[in-house]
Symmetry: C3
Subunit: 311 residues, 3 copies
């Protein structure tokens, strides 16, 4: 059992964290922040410690060198601006802990890994808000896809759109063998388009043709189909997902870190560079696209549909 030390600091970051995104350089800003925070340095040397905040529960097992991050934003782990911001901050923090070599990402909610980007962040807000939100989405992907840690997605529930992106950004994907769960980039179903770097990440994983097919139709795959097409690497019984993740992780951690990290960088850097070269243009594209009347109308209809279904 993990000992959970609730970090009050992290909770307080909800507000300021958002502001950090507005500054030119998220990375240096947040890093600076953490450096000044006394509690972020020198964790009590217990064999295991953890911190939690509103929406993310992070446990670090220092003996194993493995962190587990549970998304805990009920009911569906929507990726709100606040969650994204904290996700990035936690990643940076773990990245800087030398003893932490692997990260398992999973969900604290039964049945749902993550429903993806929070639609309320994309509806009826200002252009500045859309830009801030999009920058945070980019940042999370950049951090996850190039993490020096071994990142394993323990997909214990449905994982559409942004949830799928988080899974794809890892090094290995294990999904619960429950035919009710699905995974995929289903953006076209909502009348929107997956950005090019979502597409690149999918193509890198399942190849060009399968991606074209899946993206055009907004396919959501059952675990069996996801395994067949290569969106996930392994499908196991629901109660074995976490154990399997730990077993797979120990295999990956048996490889010398430095050689593995250089290899990962060699494979992924060209894809990441494509976004970095046009990051501002990508934000502008998103803001302009999402602000269209037709898209706002689509999102409104979709939210109404979701609400009605709930009632």
């Amino acid at each position: 059992m993990a000992l959970r030390v609730v970090s009050v600091l992290k909770r307080r970051l909800g507000g300021p964290g958002q502001k950090l995104l507005r500054s030119g350089n998220l990375l240096s800003a947040t890093q600076h922040r953490w450096e000044k925070m006394p509690s972020s340095v020198g964790f009590p040397v217990t064999s295991r410690r953890s911190f939690s905040k509103t929406a993310l529960i992070v446990d670090v097992d220092h003996n194993l060198g493995i962190a587990t991050m549970k998304m805990n934003n009920p009911p569906v782990n929507s990726l709100s601006l606040e969650l994204l911001t904290n996700f990035v901050i936690d990643l940076e923090k773990l990245e800087n802990e030398k003893r932490c070599r692997g990260l398992i990402i999973t969900s604290a909610s039964p049945k749902i890994f993550s429903a993806g980007l929070d639609i309320t962040e994309m509806y009826g807000k200002s252009s500045a808000h859309y830009a801030e939100f999009w920058k945070a989405v980019q940042e999370l992907w950049l951090k996850l896809y190039m993490s020096n840690m071994v990142v394993i997605a323990a997909i214990n529930g449905s994982s559409p759109a942004g949830g799928c992106l988080i899974s794809l950004a890892g090094d290995y994907r294990i999904m619960a063998d429950n035919p009710k769960y699905t995974i995929g980039l289903n953006e076209t179903l909502l009348g929107i388009v997956a950005p090019f770097w979502f597409k690149d990440t999918l193509v890198n994983t399942i190849g060009n043709r399968a991606s074209e097919h899946a993206l055009q139709l907004g396919l959501l795959f059952s675990p069996t189909d996801a395994l067949r097409v290569g969106i996930v690497d392994q499908v196991v019984p629901e109660d074995k997902v976490q154990d399997t993740a730990l077993n797979v992780m120990s295999r990956w951690l048996s490889i010398p870190d430095h050689a593995r990290q250089l290899t990962k960088t060699m494979m992924r850097k060209p894809t990441v560079d494509r976004l970095l070269k046009q990051r501002e243009a990508d934000i502008k594209n998103f803001v302009s696209f999402i602000s269209r009347d037709s898209i706002q109308k689509s999102l409104h209809m979709y939210m109404k549909h979701l609400k009605e279904r709930k009632e």
Copy 2:
């Protein structure tokens, strides 16, 4: 049953259509042409209408929003300059009909989808003719590969070389389960080389290694093997090909057009741009290659072989 309104206009285009290809810009030229033709606007508002001409039979079902184009150039649906020209004109016309959202391409001849490029257009003609022919081949691929419509190939017969290219340029491929039928880019068997954009289209569909293997050996795949390697998406009994195409089409048409089209463009534009950047050079390459004595001799032998087999 479709009501077929024979379009006399289209038939008359055989000659002028070829000339259009000589002008600098085929696209704007033919578009202009159609805009001025009264019959191309305001079709009688029947639930279904069709037009045919020498070698292409086009039916449009306005209720479903689906056009069916049957290649009808016996005995083997060779892609002559005239057929290519009319194919492009028909595509543009359908592309401009807002109610037409999907296109099924199939063959009116039993046993053969299309035998590919018409060899007589590549043998014993002038350089100008070769250039005109090649430009038309490029044009057809550019139009098909980037069509805003959902394009499904209902492959009801053999589909080598150029026939395979037409299939690959669509969004989905359904092939008749007849082991006598084959599909593939078999250019090397004739001593010639598939151009780089044929290769790119194949690589985008079945990946690099399978393409290298198939292209070097000029492999013609049985339906079962084509499905296994990914050249086609589905193999069904011969009498189910058209029905399956309609069923699959209705699935694709359930996706919002705009999001689907943007996604398709995102996937395919880089490949198309590669040809657009060096289109003239590609034509020159083709003309110079096909004019070689050795290649002309190869083609002569092949035509003689075909003729003898027929007798």
Copy 3:
């Protein structure tokens, strides 16, 4: 049975061959050398002849137009600088023999195809030596990957790292169905990183995701797994490897050479150009990487481990 004419000349090349690599242009230098050697022109017109030297046994069957090259550098066919140099020279020689259209690469040692690059060439030597060695590795890959001959790897034993690279550089791979044999780019297990062109060759063969997975973990595949992932094309009983190679070769040789060669070039040139554009930088990278204390220590440990296992 092949008649083996031992070429004394080749044996004598051991020393000078190494020096040739130091000259600016290996290709023109060695070509020049061979042109001046009388015995390299006008082989006795027997139906079959062969030559051997310390580490490579080459048989040419002029009737079939097929050369067989057996690596014969016991105990594990390590790719020493001398072997690499002679390998390149033999390849050039065969490339220039018009009647030789196909090459089968295999091992004269039971159980091992090749253990890969000779670690003793990378440990405790001068920077100049490392640079010379790396240039020879590049040269072999460049020659093999772009060979005008059909190159088939008859993998009759384990084939890690550089051995795997040689296999991947061919056109077709047949592996003996012995579960004790493995194949793969396992560099990370030694704490080193496969260079980008090793990676490119693997990605071209098995795709991006499988490569990322295999390279990060340094996976060594059993024949069955290698077939499943696509590292090899065929797995056959151990005593059928050579016969299968000959059968497959006759299929490939039925394709007109010129068309096949142009197709191969079209597929592979972009990958080769990537190395050619930064060949010197790649050598510098290697020298700087391999000279690091940490890497030298890793290699020392590994060599010690190998030695202890032997004793």
